[in-house]
């Protein structure tokens, strides 16, 4: 792990300074560490023999790391920092070096809707789109709502995007097992008894409780492959508006994934406040923007790695794709069945439903169809409004209706 004996040859004050610097390096590298954790680390070091490289490493790990996902990154930073420390090189050089190696956070730059990653390079050089007059007349906005995203001009897209943020979200609630002090479901013995003391122990005034409700978690899986690229931008804006609204309501459980040739979790990026910043990072995190699609394989990854972690508590799953799948239909059917069985409701959103005369006849969609609870369009604003409304009144799935 680290070298044999250097840490102890330095006075503890000196070591402490390096401990603090190390935690700063971790923070720079994206591993969040609080001062309290740094203190725990320092106090931990007093308890172990710091001549023992392994103990030293595991003490750092136990006190500074809180997620399995960060382990590899943590190890790399740890090794780099303490090896250098060991060699007693000039420390200022070390930091320059170490920091140079880190994946730097991309600087937030002003981005317009039209130059979201995925659009061609040249577009980013175009002059910024002028802001649209917000005082849209009613008839204008009605028209806009029914126009397909595909047919919109950049100005109209910008206007549509702003309208998205004004949508009011009320996803359906589920009854939790926690009780609250209203309603009349169960007797609240504690309160009833306390109030009975006013009446010489007679239970005159009974107090009641009922079950609390919470919004259902929503898991979105968005297709960002070539055939969906023109819709992806808008859909990601839609999902971002959703994330923001959810966190405003204090709900933590919205998970966003993108897929194409592989599955990428972008939940954390979607929590950023600025849409363009988040989308820019999505573009960097998602490697297969505008590639092919292997829905079955991506759902397989989701079912294996994420389903158990995010599908609890009556989750609603939104799959956003046109169903052009280059993988095996059998695999897609198998994974769709598993996915449907592990969530409350499986909704497939398809922009092509808006096309007149469209029929879902692709091999992928035909394979997936038996396991879809709701098949809805997402090609324009009014279809998104319909979706929002549908999310508010989902009923329990009729058992085995696909027979």
């Amino acid at each position: 792990m680290i070298g044999r004996d250097t840490p102890s040859t330095l006075p503890s004050g000196h070591l402490l300074a390096h401990v603090v610097r190390f935690t700063r390096l971790l923070r720079e590298g994206g591993v969040v560490v609080t001062p309290g954790q740094t203190m725990t680390f320092a106090r931990g070091l007093e308890q172990i023999s710091i001549l023992d490289a392994d103990s030293f490493y595991y003490t750092a790990r136990a006190s500074l790391l809180t997620r399995r996902e960060n382990l590899e990154h943590f190890n790399a930073l740890f090794l780099r920092f303490w090896q250098e420390y060991d060699r007693q090189n000039s420390l200022s050089d070390l930091f320059k070096d170490a920091l140079g190696l880190l994946p730097r956070k991309p600087r937030p730059r002003p981005m317009e809707l039209a130059s979201v990653p995925g659009s061609s390079e040249g577009e980013s050089n175009q002059p910024p789109i002028p802001l649209v007059d917000r005082s849209l007349t009613y008839s204008h906005s009605e028209l806009l709502k029914r126009r397909s995203f595909e047919a919109m001009s950049p100005e109209e897209l910008e206007a549509a995007r702003q309208m998205l943020y004004r949508l009011v979200w009320t996803p359906q609630e589920r009854r939790t097992r926690r009780m609250k002090a209203t309603g009349k479901e169960r007797l609240d013995l504690r309160k009833s008894f306390r109030s009975s003391l006013k009446h010489q122990g007679e239970l005159v005034d009974l107090k009641w409780r009922s079950r609390k409700t919470k919004p259902r978690p929503i898991i979105a899986l968005a297709d960002v492959s070539g055939s969906m690229e023109r819709y992806s931008r808008m859909l990601l804006h839609f999902l971002h508006a959703f994330s923001i609204e959810q966190s405003r309501q204090g709900v933590r459980q919205i998970e966003t994934f993108t897929f194409g040739t592989r599955l990428t979790r972008i939940t954390r990026l979607m929590k950023k406040r600025s849409v363009d910043g988040a989308l820019a990072e999505v573009g960097q995190a998602v490697k297969d923007w505008s590639g092919g699609t292997r829905i079955g394989a991506c759902l397989h990854t989701f079912n294996h790695t994420w389903a158990r972690r995010v599908l609890g508590r009556g989750a609603i799953v939104l799959v956003i794709s046109d169903g052009w799948d280059q993988g095996e239909p059998q695999q897609l059917a198998f994974e769709m069945e598993r996915l449907q069985k592990s969530c409350y409701r499986l909704i497939w959103l398809n922009p092509l439903i808006g096309t007149p005369g469209y029929q879902p006849l692709t091999r992928g969609l035909m394979a997936a169809m038996p396991f879809i609870d709701d098949f809805l369009p997402v090609h324009n604003l009014s279809s998104l409004e319909m979706l929002v409304e549908a999310l508010g009144r989902l009923e329990r799935r009729a058992s085995n209706w696909y027979g």
């Binding site: 969040v32 725990t40 308890q47 136990a62 097992r177 926690r178 504690r190 003391l197």
Partner: protein, 301 residues
């Protein structure tokens, strides 16, 4: 009682038949020494709950366990008044002519009518020894309980409005486990020392099998462990944990198997795999897996 070094911790755990690697020993030692809660994450069946039992044994103290679930509230986690007995007491007082409401109130809210639940029990030391508190599967609880727990873990006290505040003489040793079906709130994580328990290496798992399943022949144990280790590399919905390895070894012993062959493996896969898809998949690969396991076992030896 608390081990004085990492090595001693490791040895003491081993004396109580828990094979811990260095990382886990360091985490346990620090948790004891610094009085911090220990948060253990890992796949199901890697020994998260087991180590807590061993820890209580090792420290010669009692183990208090709180199983988490959604809606876990004060009356199930902390305390509850015994309403039926309180009611009776009021009638008794009434019969004896007690009219002073203040006195009645004071009587019925005394400690003897209090039912202690795990968190309250955990604040009490017996013979000067603080207990070990296991908060199992915290991911099943909801945010409301997490918030309460955060307060409990920093103050080590519980206030009962009717009766007063209970403070810990000595803070309990707290271990929290999670299967990661939900992300635990960061504030709670940061109060804890964190350790991710991985699937064990061949050598470690072999030692665990030999230790925990008496009567398993050396050769069979080696085959079992090699097979399970190979199986974990496959793309399964739920890879077998150490608990499953032990179940499987016990099943094979019960069937008087002396060595692994495809037939026996197929018949006993139910002890190892809990999803039908996984069982079907493994059956079709059993032969190849056995060969690979054989080769791996030889190379380890």
């Amino acid at each position: 009682m608390i081990p004085s070094s990492v090595e001693e911790t490791q040895k003491a755990l081993e004396q109580h038949r828990y094979i811990a690697d260095k990382g886990l020993s360091v985490a346990v030692f620090l948790a004891l020494k610094l009085g911090r809660p220990l948060l253990l994450e890992g796949e199901p069946g890697v020994g998260k709950t087991e180590i807590v039992k061993v820890l209580a044994e090792m420290l010669g103290t009692r183990l208090i366990r709180l199983q988490c679930y959604e809606g876990l509230d004060i009356s199930n986690a902390v305390y509850e008044w015994d309403y039926a007995r309180q009611m009776l007491q009021i009638r008794l007082l009434e019969a004896s002519g007690e009219r002073d409401q203040g006195r009645v109130r004071h009587e019925v809210f005394s400690w003897e009518f209090l039912l202690e639940r795990p968190l309250l029990q955990a604040l009490k030391s017996v013979d000067g020894k603080a207990p070990v508190l296991l908060i199992d599967e915290i991911d099943r609880a909801d945010e409301e309980f997490e918030a309460f727990l955060l307060e409990f873990l920093s103050d080590w006290q519980i206030t009962i409005p009717e009766a007063g505040t209970v403070r810990a003489e000595k803070p309990p040793v707290v271990v929290i486990t999670s299967n990661r079906t939900r992300e635990i709130h960061d504030a709670l994580k940061r109060r804890c020392l964190y350790f991710w328990i991985d699937y064990p290496s061949f050598a470690k798992e072999y030692r665990i099998v030999r230790e925990k399943v008496p009567g398993v022949p050396e050769q069979l144990a080696r085959q079992i462990v090699a097979f399970v280790q190979e199986l974990r590399k496959e793309d399964l919905y739920k890879a077998p944990g150490v608990a499953e390895t032990l179940d499987w070894a016990a099943s094979l012993i019960a069937l008087d198997a002396t060595h692994l062959e495809p037939q026996v493996v197929e018949e006993t896969l139910g002890a190892l795999l809990k999803y039908q898809d996984d069982v079907v998949k493994t059956k079709s690969m059993a032969h190849g897996l056995l060969e690979q396991a054989e080769a791996a076992a030889v190379s380890v030896r």
